[in-house]
Symmetry: C2
Subunit: 278 residues, 2 copies
Protein backbone atom coordinates (compact mmCIF):
# COMPACT_ATOMS: atom_id res chain seq x y z
CA UNK A 1 0.00 0.00 0.00
CA UNK A 2 1.09 3.55 -0.69
CA UNK A 3 1.66 5.67 2.39
CA UNK A 4 -0.48 8.76 2.61
CA UNK A 5 1.10 12.16 3.17
CA UNK A 6 0.94 14.67 5.99
CA UNK A 7 -1.03 17.74 4.85
CA UNK A 8 0.05 21.14 6.17
CA UNK A 9 -1.48 24.50 5.40
CA UNK A 10 -0.91 28.13 6.20
CA UNK A 11 -2.17 31.45 4.85
CA UNK A 12 1.21 31.83 3.17
CA UNK A 13 4.82 31.05 3.73
CA UNK A 14 4.99 31.17 7.55
CA UNK A 15 3.85 27.57 8.06
CA UNK A 16 7.12 26.40 6.54
CA UNK A 17 8.59 26.81 10.05
CA UNK A 18 6.15 24.10 11.16
CA UNK A 19 6.87 21.95 8.10
CA UNK A 20 10.58 22.13 8.93
CA UNK A 21 9.98 20.69 12.41
CA UNK A 22 7.64 18.01 11.04
CA UNK A 23 10.33 16.92 8.57
CA UNK A 24 12.96 16.98 11.31
CA UNK A 25 10.78 14.77 13.57
CA UNK A 26 9.48 12.51 10.79
CA UNK A 27 11.99 12.51 7.91
CA UNK A 28 10.40 9.37 6.45
CA UNK A 29 7.03 11.01 5.82
CA UNK A 30 5.74 12.58 2.60
CA UNK A 31 4.30 16.06 3.06
CA UNK A 32 1.96 18.27 1.06
CA UNK A 33 2.11 21.95 1.96
CA UNK A 34 -0.45 24.51 0.81
CA UNK A 35 0.13 28.25 1.20
CA UNK A 36 -2.91 30.43 0.40
CA UNK A 37 -0.76 33.20 -1.05
CA UNK A 38 -3.56 34.62 -3.22
CA UNK A 39 -5.51 35.58 -0.09
CA UNK A 40 -2.79 36.05 2.54
CA UNK A 41 -2.87 37.39 5.27
CA UNK A 42 -5.59 35.75 7.38
CA UNK A 43 -4.72 37.60 10.59
CA UNK A 44 -6.59 40.78 9.67
CA UNK A 45 -9.69 38.97 8.38
CA UNK A 46 -12.86 37.84 10.08
CA UNK A 47 -13.34 34.37 11.61
CA UNK A 48 -16.12 33.64 9.06
CA UNK A 49 -13.80 34.30 6.13
CA UNK A 50 -10.90 32.35 7.65
CA UNK A 51 -13.21 29.37 8.29
CA UNK A 52 -14.41 29.47 4.67
CA UNK A 53 -10.86 29.54 3.31
CA UNK A 54 -9.72 26.79 5.70
CA UNK A 55 -12.59 24.53 4.57
CA UNK A 56 -11.66 25.00 0.90
CA UNK A 57 -8.03 24.15 1.62
CA UNK A 58 -8.90 21.09 3.72
CA UNK A 59 -11.13 19.76 0.92
CA UNK A 60 -8.33 20.29 -1.55
CA UNK A 61 -5.72 18.51 0.60
CA UNK A 62 -8.13 15.63 1.28
CA UNK A 63 -8.49 15.20 -2.47
CA UNK A 64 -4.70 14.67 -2.46
CA UNK A 65 -5.09 11.81 0.00
CA UNK A 66 -3.59 12.93 3.30
CA UNK A 67 -3.67 10.95 6.57
CA UNK A 68 -3.42 13.88 8.99
CA UNK A 69 -3.83 17.64 8.60
CA UNK A 70 -1.68 20.25 10.33
CA UNK A 71 -3.22 23.72 10.52
CA UNK A 72 0.13 25.52 10.70
CA UNK A 73 -1.48 28.97 10.67
CA UNK A 74 -2.13 30.37 14.15
CA UNK A 75 -5.08 32.44 12.95
CA UNK A 76 -6.76 29.46 11.26
CA UNK A 77 -5.98 27.28 14.30
CA UNK A 78 -7.52 29.90 16.56
CA UNK A 79 -10.75 30.45 14.66
CA UNK A 80 -11.31 27.46 12.34
CA UNK A 81 -9.89 24.33 13.99
CA UNK A 82 -13.04 23.12 15.73
CA UNK A 83 -15.16 23.73 12.60
CA UNK A 84 -12.71 21.64 10.58
CA UNK A 85 -12.59 18.87 13.19
CA UNK A 86 -16.38 18.68 13.19
CA UNK A 87 -16.63 18.54 9.41
CA UNK A 88 -13.77 16.22 8.44
CA UNK A 89 -12.94 12.74 9.74
CA UNK A 90 -9.11 12.63 9.59
CA UNK A 91 -7.08 13.85 12.61
CA UNK A 92 -6.54 17.62 12.46
CA UNK A 93 -3.83 19.28 14.57
CA UNK A 94 -3.58 23.02 15.18
CA UNK A 95 -0.66 25.00 16.61
CA UNK A 96 -2.46 26.67 19.53
CA UNK A 97 -2.81 23.64 21.81
CA UNK A 98 0.87 22.54 21.42
CA UNK A 99 2.02 26.15 21.94
CA UNK A 100 -0.14 26.46 25.05
CA UNK A 101 1.27 23.18 26.45
CA UNK A 102 4.82 24.36 25.85
CA UNK A 103 4.16 27.71 27.56
CA UNK A 104 2.46 26.11 30.57
CA UNK A 105 5.43 23.76 30.96
CA UNK A 106 8.00 26.57 30.74
CA UNK A 107 6.58 29.33 32.96
CA UNK A 108 7.79 29.51 36.54
CA UNK A 109 6.20 32.83 37.53
CA UNK A 110 2.79 31.80 36.21
CA UNK A 111 2.67 34.88 33.98
CA UNK A 112 2.62 34.12 30.25
CA UNK A 113 2.55 36.60 27.39
CA UNK A 114 1.06 35.80 23.97
CA UNK A 115 1.63 37.77 20.79
CA UNK A 116 -0.19 37.09 17.53
CA UNK A 117 -2.28 38.55 14.74
CA UNK A 118 -5.34 40.69 15.43
CA UNK A 119 -7.62 37.71 14.69
CA UNK A 120 -5.68 35.28 16.89
CA UNK A 121 -5.59 37.66 19.85
CA UNK A 122 -9.26 38.61 19.42
CA UNK A 123 -10.19 34.91 19.56
CA UNK A 124 -8.54 34.45 23.01
CA UNK A 125 -7.67 30.93 21.80
CA UNK A 126 -4.27 30.85 23.54
CA UNK A 127 -5.64 32.23 26.80
CA UNK A 128 -8.39 29.59 26.85
CA UNK A 129 -5.98 26.78 25.94
CA UNK A 130 -3.43 27.76 28.60
CA UNK A 131 -6.11 28.13 31.27
CA UNK A 132 -7.55 24.70 30.39
CA UNK A 133 -4.10 23.28 31.22
CA UNK A 134 -3.58 25.42 34.33
CA UNK A 135 -6.25 27.91 35.41
CA UNK A 136 -3.77 29.60 37.77
CA UNK A 137 -1.62 30.93 34.93
CA UNK A 138 -2.15 34.60 34.13
CA UNK A 139 -2.15 35.27 30.38
CA UNK A 140 -1.56 38.69 28.81
CA UNK A 141 -1.88 38.99 25.04
CA UNK A 142 -1.12 41.63 22.43
CA UNK A 143 -1.76 41.82 18.67
CA UNK A 144 1.32 42.83 16.66
CA UNK A 145 -0.01 43.46 13.13
CA UNK A 146 3.23 44.99 11.82
CA UNK A 147 5.39 41.95 12.62
CA UNK A 148 4.23 39.97 9.57
CA UNK A 149 4.98 42.72 7.02
CA UNK A 150 8.30 43.43 8.77
CA UNK A 151 9.30 39.75 8.50
CA UNK A 152 8.23 39.62 4.85
CA UNK A 153 10.16 42.82 4.09
CA UNK A 154 13.23 41.21 5.68
CA UNK A 155 13.50 44.05 8.24
CA UNK A 156 14.21 41.69 11.12
CA UNK A 157 17.20 43.32 12.75
CA UNK A 158 17.02 47.06 12.12
CA UNK A 159 15.91 50.09 14.09
CA UNK A 160 12.34 49.99 12.71
CA UNK A 161 11.95 46.38 13.90
CA UNK A 162 13.41 47.25 17.31
CA UNK A 163 11.19 50.29 17.82
CA UNK A 164 8.09 48.41 16.68
CA UNK A 165 8.85 45.51 19.03
CA UNK A 166 9.44 48.03 21.82
CA UNK A 167 5.98 49.54 21.37
CA UNK A 168 4.14 46.22 21.02
CA UNK A 169 5.92 44.45 23.89
CA UNK A 170 5.99 47.30 26.44
CA UNK A 171 2.86 46.22 28.33
CA UNK A 172 3.89 42.56 28.38
CA UNK A 173 7.23 43.53 29.92
CA UNK A 174 5.47 45.68 32.53
CA UNK A 175 3.27 42.71 33.43
CA UNK A 176 6.43 40.74 34.22
CA UNK A 177 5.76 37.70 32.04
CA UNK A 178 8.57 35.11 32.12
CA UNK A 179 7.36 33.26 29.01
CA UNK A 180 6.30 34.68 25.65
CA UNK A 181 4.41 32.62 23.06
CA UNK A 182 5.28 33.59 19.48
CA UNK A 183 1.69 33.01 18.36
CA UNK A 184 2.20 33.51 14.63
CA UNK A 185 4.39 31.42 12.34
CA UNK A 186 6.13 34.55 11.05
CA UNK A 187 7.34 35.70 14.44
CA UNK A 188 10.30 33.31 14.88
CA UNK A 189 11.89 35.29 12.02
CA UNK A 190 11.90 38.30 14.40
CA UNK A 191 13.10 36.21 17.36
CA UNK A 192 16.36 38.14 17.83
CA UNK A 193 14.70 41.56 18.16
CA UNK A 194 11.86 40.21 20.31
CA UNK A 195 14.40 38.52 22.63
CA UNK A 196 16.40 41.77 22.90
CA UNK A 197 13.33 43.77 23.90
CA UNK A 198 12.00 41.18 26.35
CA UNK A 199 15.39 40.53 27.96
CA UNK A 200 17.25 37.31 28.80
CA UNK A 201 14.96 36.31 31.68
CA UNK A 202 11.99 35.75 29.31
CA UNK A 203 11.73 32.41 27.46
CA UNK A 204 10.35 32.58 23.91
CA UNK A 205 8.10 29.68 22.93
CA UNK A 206 7.12 28.76 19.42
CA UNK A 207 4.70 25.97 18.73
CA UNK A 208 6.43 24.42 15.72
CA UNK A 209 8.42 21.73 17.52
CA UNK A 210 5.58 20.79 19.91
CA UNK A 211 3.19 20.60 16.96
CA UNK A 212 5.51 18.22 15.11
CA UNK A 213 5.72 15.97 18.16
CA UNK A 214 1.92 15.99 18.46
CA UNK A 215 1.65 14.86 14.84
CA UNK A 216 4.21 12.10 15.43
CA UNK A 217 2.25 10.93 18.48
CA UNK A 218 -1.07 10.75 16.60
CA UNK A 219 0.43 8.83 13.68
CA UNK A 220 2.18 6.40 16.02
CA UNK A 221 -1.02 5.83 18.01
CA UNK A 222 -3.03 5.12 14.86
CA UNK A 223 -0.37 2.87 13.31
CA UNK A 224 0.05 5.29 10.41
CA UNK A 225 3.78 6.01 10.74
CA UNK A 226 5.84 5.14 7.70
CA UNK A 227 8.83 2.87 8.51
CA UNK A 228 11.97 4.74 9.53
CA UNK A 229 14.79 4.74 7.04
CA UNK A 230 12.55 5.85 4.16
CA UNK A 231 12.93 9.40 2.94
CA UNK A 232 9.81 11.47 2.39
CA UNK A 233 8.94 13.57 -0.63
CA UNK A 234 7.73 17.13 -0.21
CA UNK A 235 5.23 18.88 -2.43
CA UNK A 236 4.37 22.56 -2.28
CA UNK A 237 1.23 24.25 -3.58
CA UNK A 238 0.32 27.92 -3.54
CA UNK A 239 -2.72 29.86 -4.71
CA UNK A 240 -0.81 32.78 -6.23
CA UNK A 241 2.14 32.34 -8.60
CA UNK A 242 5.07 30.65 -6.85
CA UNK A 243 7.81 33.32 -7.28
CA UNK A 244 7.30 35.28 -4.04
CA UNK A 245 6.70 32.11 -2.03
CA UNK A 246 9.99 30.62 -3.20
CA UNK A 247 11.92 33.83 -2.46
CA UNK A 248 10.58 34.31 1.07
CA UNK A 249 10.42 30.54 1.67
CA UNK A 250 14.15 30.24 1.12
CA UNK A 251 14.62 32.84 3.84
CA UNK A 252 12.43 30.72 6.15
CA UNK A 253 13.89 27.29 5.40
CA UNK A 254 17.39 28.57 4.80
CA UNK A 255 17.90 26.75 1.53
CA UNK A 256 16.41 25.47 -1.66
CA UNK A 257 13.23 23.52 -1.73
CA UNK A 258 11.61 21.57 -4.54
CA UNK A 259 9.06 22.53 -7.15
CA UNK A 260 6.15 24.72 -6.17
CA UNK A 261 2.84 24.46 -8.05
CA UNK A 262 -0.08 26.86 -8.31
CA UNK A 263 -3.64 25.73 -7.63
CA UNK A 264 -6.96 27.62 -7.92
CA UNK A 265 -9.05 26.90 -4.82
CA UNK A 266 -12.00 28.95 -6.02
CA UNK A 267 -12.31 26.61 -8.99
CA UNK A 268 -11.87 23.57 -6.74
CA UNK A 269 -14.65 24.82 -4.55
CA UNK A 270 -16.81 25.57 -7.52
CA UNK A 271 -16.47 22.03 -8.92
CA UNK A 272 -17.21 20.68 -5.49
CA UNK A 273 -20.35 22.77 -5.16
CA UNK A 274 -21.52 22.00 -8.67
CA UNK A 275 -21.25 18.30 -7.84
CA UNK A 276 -23.24 18.83 -4.68
CA UNK A 277 -26.15 20.33 -6.61
CA UNK A 278 -26.29 17.41 -9.05
CA UNK B 1 -35.29 56.75 -16.51
CA UNK B 2 -33.26 55.85 -13.45
CA UNK B 3 -29.73 57.20 -13.42
CA UNK B 4 -27.04 54.57 -13.22
CA UNK B 5 -24.38 54.75 -10.54
CA UNK B 6 -20.62 55.26 -10.63
CA UNK B 7 -18.86 52.01 -9.67
CA UNK B 8 -15.63 52.24 -7.70
CA UNK B 9 -13.47 49.41 -6.44
CA UNK B 10 -10.34 48.89 -4.43
CA UNK B 11 -8.62 45.96 -2.73
CA UNK B 12 -9.88 47.37 0.53
CA UNK B 13 -10.56 50.64 2.23
CA UNK B 14 -7.94 52.85 0.52
CA UNK B 15 -10.10 53.67 -2.51
CA UNK B 16 -12.40 55.67 -0.25
CA UNK B 17 -9.95 58.55 -0.76
CA UNK B 18 -10.90 58.42 -4.47
CA UNK B 19 -14.60 58.05 -3.67
CA UNK B 20 -14.37 61.17 -1.51
CA UNK B 21 -13.06 63.22 -4.44
CA UNK B 22 -15.64 61.76 -6.83
CA UNK B 23 -18.42 62.76 -4.43
CA UNK B 24 -16.89 66.22 -4.00
CA UNK B 25 -16.74 66.73 -7.79
CA UNK B 26 -20.09 65.07 -8.55
CA UNK B 27 -22.32 65.30 -5.46
CA UNK B 28 -25.39 64.51 -7.56
CA UNK B 29 -24.20 61.04 -8.57
CA UNK B 30 -25.02 57.70 -6.96
CA UNK B 31 -21.96 55.59 -6.18
CA UNK B 32 -21.38 51.89 -5.50
CA UNK B 33 -18.09 51.10 -3.78
CA UNK B 34 -16.65 47.61 -3.49
CA UNK B 35 -13.68 46.83 -1.20
CA UNK B 36 -12.26 43.32 -1.60
CA UNK B 37 -11.45 43.05 2.11
CA UNK B 38 -11.49 39.22 2.13
CA UNK B 39 -8.47 39.18 -0.20
CA UNK B 40 -6.71 42.48 0.57
CA UNK B 41 -3.89 43.42 -0.08
CA UNK B 42 -3.35 43.23 -3.85
CA UNK B 43 0.04 44.95 -3.82
CA UNK B 44 2.00 41.85 -2.82
CA UNK B 45 0.22 39.55 -5.25
CA UNK B 46 0.90 38.57 -8.86
CA UNK B 47 -0.58 40.39 -11.88
CA UNK B 48 -2.47 37.20 -12.86
CA UNK B 49 -4.21 37.02 -9.49
CA UNK B 50 -5.00 40.74 -9.42
CA UNK B 51 -6.49 40.54 -12.94
CA UNK B 52 -8.68 37.60 -11.89
CA UNK B 53 -9.97 39.43 -8.82
CA UNK B 54 -10.54 42.64 -10.79
CA UNK B 55 -12.61 40.76 -13.38
CA UNK B 56 -14.82 39.21 -10.70
CA UNK B 57 -15.41 42.61 -9.12
CA UNK B 58 -16.17 44.30 -12.44
CA UNK B 59 -18.73 41.59 -13.28
CA UNK B 60 -20.34 42.09 -9.90
CA UNK B 61 -20.53 45.88 -10.23
CA UNK B 62 -21.90 45.58 -13.78
CA UNK B 63 -24.66 43.37 -12.40
CA UNK B 64 -25.54 46.38 -10.19
CA UNK B 65 -25.95 48.56 -13.26
CA UNK B 66 -23.12 51.08 -13.27
CA UNK B 67 -22.39 53.59 -16.06
CA UNK B 68 -18.66 54.01 -15.46
CA UNK B 69 -16.11 52.07 -13.43
CA UNK B 70 -13.30 53.64 -11.42
CA UNK B 71 -10.43 51.31 -10.57
CA UNK B 72 -9.40 53.18 -7.43
CA UNK B 73 -6.67 50.67 -6.55
CA UNK B 74 -3.25 51.62 -7.92
CA UNK B 75 -2.15 47.98 -8.12
CA UNK B 76 -5.26 46.92 -10.06
CA UNK B 77 -4.94 50.02 -12.28
CA UNK B 78 -1.31 49.16 -12.96
CA UNK B 79 -1.76 45.50 -13.86
CA UNK B 80 -5.44 44.92 -14.75
CA UNK B 81 -6.82 48.09 -16.39
CA UNK B 82 -6.16 47.20 -20.02
CA UNK B 83 -7.53 43.65 -19.53
CA UNK B 84 -10.72 45.13 -18.06
CA UNK B 85 -11.03 47.73 -20.81
CA UNK B 86 -10.71 45.02 -23.45
CA UNK B 87 -13.30 42.77 -21.83
CA UNK B 88 -16.00 45.21 -20.75
CA UNK B 89 -17.79 47.86 -22.78
CA UNK B 90 -18.47 50.65 -20.22
CA UNK B 91 -15.82 53.35 -19.71
CA UNK B 92 -13.22 52.24 -17.16
CA UNK B 93 -10.93 54.79 -15.48
CA UNK B 94 -7.79 53.91 -13.52
CA UNK B 95 -5.76 56.10 -11.17
CA UNK B 96 -2.35 55.77 -12.87
CA UNK B 97 -3.03 57.96 -15.92
CA UNK B 98 -4.55 60.84 -13.90
CA UNK B 99 -1.69 60.62 -11.37
CA UNK B 100 0.87 60.66 -14.18
CA UNK B 101 -0.79 63.72 -15.77
CA UNK B 102 -0.76 65.56 -12.45
CA UNK B 103 2.92 64.74 -11.85
CA UNK B 104 3.96 65.80 -15.37
CA UNK B 105 2.11 69.09 -14.91
CA UNK B 106 3.73 69.81 -11.53
CA UNK B 107 7.41 68.95 -12.02
CA UNK B 108 9.78 71.78 -12.87
CA UNK B 109 13.08 69.90 -12.57
CA UNK B 110 11.86 67.03 -14.75
CA UNK B 111 12.66 64.53 -12.01
CA UNK B 112 9.63 62.69 -10.62
CA UNK B 113 9.56 60.09 -7.86
CA UNK B 114 6.88 57.41 -7.62
CA UNK B 115 6.15 55.30 -4.54
CA UNK B 116 3.70 52.39 -4.52
CA UNK B 117 3.19 48.74 -3.72
CA UNK B 118 5.62 46.06 -4.89
CA UNK B 119 3.23 45.08 -7.72
CA UNK B 120 2.64 48.67 -8.88
CA UNK B 121 6.35 49.50 -8.95
CA UNK B 122 7.24 46.18 -10.65
CA UNK B 123 4.71 46.98 -13.41
CA UNK B 124 6.45 50.30 -14.27
CA UNK B 125 2.96 51.59 -15.08
CA UNK B 126 3.61 55.09 -13.72
CA UNK B 127 6.98 55.39 -15.46
CA UNK B 128 5.43 54.41 -18.79
CA UNK B 129 2.44 56.73 -18.32
CA UNK B 130 4.61 59.73 -17.37
CA UNK B 131 6.99 59.10 -20.26
CA UNK B 132 4.06 58.87 -22.71
CA UNK B 133 3.13 62.40 -21.63
CA UNK B 134 6.71 63.71 -21.63
CA UNK B 135 9.60 61.38 -22.54
CA UNK B 136 12.10 63.89 -21.11
CA UNK B 137 10.93 63.38 -17.55
CA UNK B 138 13.17 61.16 -15.44
CA UNK B 139 11.17 58.81 -13.22
CA UNK B 140 12.56 57.07 -10.12
CA UNK B 141 10.32 54.61 -8.30
CA UNK B 142 10.43 52.72 -5.04
CA UNK B 143 8.17 50.07 -3.49
CA UNK B 144 7.16 50.84 0.12
CA UNK B 145 5.45 47.65 1.33
CA UNK B 146 5.29 48.71 4.99
CA UNK B 147 3.32 51.91 4.32
CA UNK B 148 -0.02 50.09 3.95
CA UNK B 149 0.22 48.16 7.24
CA UNK B 150 1.47 51.34 8.98
CA UNK B 151 -1.54 53.31 7.71
CA UNK B 152 -3.94 50.52 8.74
CA UNK B 153 -2.31 50.30 12.19
CA UNK B 154 -2.84 54.06 12.54
CA UNK B 155 0.90 54.64 13.06
CA UNK B 156 1.00 57.65 10.78
CA UNK B 157 2.92 60.15 12.86
CA UNK B 158 5.27 58.23 15.15
CA UNK B 159 8.97 57.38 15.14
CA UNK B 160 8.42 54.03 13.39
CA UNK B 161 6.60 55.76 10.52
CA UNK B 162 9.32 58.44 10.29
CA UNK B 163 12.19 55.92 10.28
CA UNK B 164 10.42 53.71 7.72
CA UNK B 165 9.76 56.69 5.45
CA UNK B 166 13.39 57.73 5.88
CA UNK B 167 14.66 54.35 4.63
CA UNK B 168 12.20 54.06 1.73
CA UNK B 169 12.58 57.66 0.51
CA UNK B 170 16.35 58.05 0.91
CA UNK B 171 17.23 57.21 -2.72
CA UNK B 172 14.44 59.38 -4.12
CA UNK B 173 15.75 62.33 -2.11
CA UNK B 174 19.29 61.69 -3.37
CA UNK B 175 17.98 61.70 -6.94
CA UNK B 176 16.65 65.20 -6.32
CA UNK B 177 13.04 64.65 -7.40
CA UNK B 178 10.85 67.75 -7.03
CA UNK B 179 7.57 65.81 -7.32
CA UNK B 180 6.52 62.61 -5.59
CA UNK B 181 3.52 60.57 -6.71
CA UNK B 182 1.74 58.83 -3.83
CA UNK B 183 1.02 55.78 -5.98
CA UNK B 184 -1.16 53.88 -3.52
CA UNK B 185 -4.49 55.01 -2.10
CA UNK B 186 -3.28 54.38 1.45
CA UNK B 187 -0.33 56.73 1.23
CA UNK B 188 -2.18 60.06 1.63
CA UNK B 189 -2.81 58.88 5.22
CA UNK B 190 0.98 59.07 5.73
CA UNK B 191 1.27 62.40 3.90
CA UNK B 192 2.59 64.33 6.91
CA UNK B 193 5.53 61.99 7.56
CA UNK B 194 6.33 61.63 3.85
CA UNK B 195 6.32 65.42 3.45
CA UNK B 196 8.62 65.84 6.46
CA UNK B 197 11.14 63.38 5.05
CA UNK B 198 11.04 64.76 1.49
CA UNK B 199 11.21 68.41 2.60
CA UNK B 200 9.17 71.48 1.60
CA UNK B 201 10.63 71.75 -1.91
CA UNK B 202 9.02 68.47 -3.03
CA UNK B 203 5.36 68.47 -4.15
CA UNK B 204 3.30 65.41 -3.21
CA UNK B 205 0.80 64.32 -5.85
CA UNK B 206 -2.08 61.97 -5.29
CA UNK B 207 -4.29 60.86 -8.11
CA UNK B 208 -7.66 61.04 -6.34
CA UNK B 209 -8.67 64.54 -7.41
CA UNK B 210 -7.42 64.13 -11.01
CA UNK B 211 -9.24 60.80 -11.26
CA UNK B 212 -12.50 62.37 -10.12
CA UNK B 213 -12.15 65.11 -12.76
CA UNK B 214 -11.47 62.45 -15.42
CA UNK B 215 -14.67 60.66 -14.44
CA UNK B 216 -16.62 63.92 -14.58
CA UNK B 217 -15.21 64.61 -18.05
CA UNK B 218 -16.19 61.19 -19.41
CA UNK B 219 -19.73 61.40 -18.05
CA UNK B 220 -20.16 64.93 -19.42
CA UNK B 221 -18.86 63.88 -22.83
CA UNK B 222 -21.23 60.91 -23.02
CA UNK B 223 -24.25 62.86 -21.72
CA UNK B 224 -24.46 60.63 -18.67
CA UNK B 225 -24.19 63.30 -15.95
CA UNK B 226 -27.10 63.43 -13.55
CA UNK B 227 -28.62 66.92 -13.25
CA UNK B 228 -26.96 69.11 -10.64
CA UNK B 229 -28.95 69.79 -7.51
CA UNK B 230 -29.80 66.15 -6.96
CA UNK B 231 -28.04 64.41 -4.11
CA UNK B 232 -26.49 60.99 -4.75
CA UNK B 233 -26.84 57.86 -2.66
CA UNK B 234 -23.79 55.87 -1.70
CA UNK B 235 -23.64 52.11 -1.26
CA UNK B 236 -20.74 50.18 0.15
CA UNK B 237 -19.95 46.50 -0.33
CA UNK B 238 -17.11 44.45 1.09
CA UNK B 239 -16.09 40.81 0.73
CA UNK B 240 -15.18 40.27 4.39
CA UNK B 241 -17.44 41.27 7.29
CA UNK B 242 -17.92 45.05 7.41
CA UNK B 243 -16.57 45.82 10.93
CA UNK B 244 -12.92 46.51 10.08
CA UNK B 245 -13.85 48.40 6.92
CA UNK B 246 -16.13 50.73 8.86
CA UNK B 247 -13.52 51.34 11.56
CA UNK B 248 -10.66 52.15 9.19
CA UNK B 249 -13.00 53.80 6.68
CA UNK B 250 -14.08 56.36 9.24
CA UNK B 251 -10.40 57.25 9.67
CA UNK B 252 -10.16 57.72 5.88
CA UNK B 253 -13.37 59.67 5.31
CA UNK B 254 -13.26 61.44 8.64
CA UNK B 255 -16.83 60.68 9.58
CA UNK B 256 -19.72 58.29 9.48
CA UNK B 257 -20.81 56.64 6.32
CA UNK B 258 -23.91 54.61 5.58
CA UNK B 259 -24.60 50.90 5.68
CA UNK B 260 -21.96 48.49 4.47
CA UNK B 261 -22.99 45.10 3.07
CA UNK B 262 -21.03 41.90 2.59
CA UNK B 263 -20.95 40.06 -0.73
CA UNK B 264 -19.33 36.75 -1.73
CA UNK B 265 -17.56 37.21 -5.07
CA UNK B 266 -16.47 33.57 -5.28
CA UNK B 267 -20.12 32.58 -5.32
CA UNK B 268 -20.92 35.32 -7.83
CA UNK B 269 -18.19 34.02 -10.09
CA UNK B 270 -19.38 30.48 -9.64
CA UNK B 271 -22.93 31.33 -10.69
CA UNK B 272 -21.57 33.23 -13.63
CA UNK B 273 -19.40 30.33 -14.75
CA UNK B 274 -22.16 27.82 -14.24
CA UNK B 275 -24.35 29.93 -16.50
CA UNK B 276 -21.63 30.01 -19.10
CA UNK B 277 -21.47 26.21 -19.29
CA UNK B 278 -25.25 25.87 -19.73
Amino acid sequence: MAWKAIGIFDSGVGGLTVLKEVVRALPQEDTIYLGDTARVPYGTKSPETVVRYSRQITRYLLSRDIKVLVVACNTASAVALSALQQEFSIPIVGVIEPGARAAAAVTKSGKVGVIGTTATVASSAYTKAIKRINPEIEVVSRACPLFVPLAEEGWVDNEVARLTAGIYLEDLKKHGVDTLVLGCTHYPILRKVIAEVMGPEVTLVDAAEQTALTVAGILAEQGLLRPKGERGNHHYYVTDIPAGFIRIGNRFLGGDFGDVYQVNLEQEQQEEEVEETD
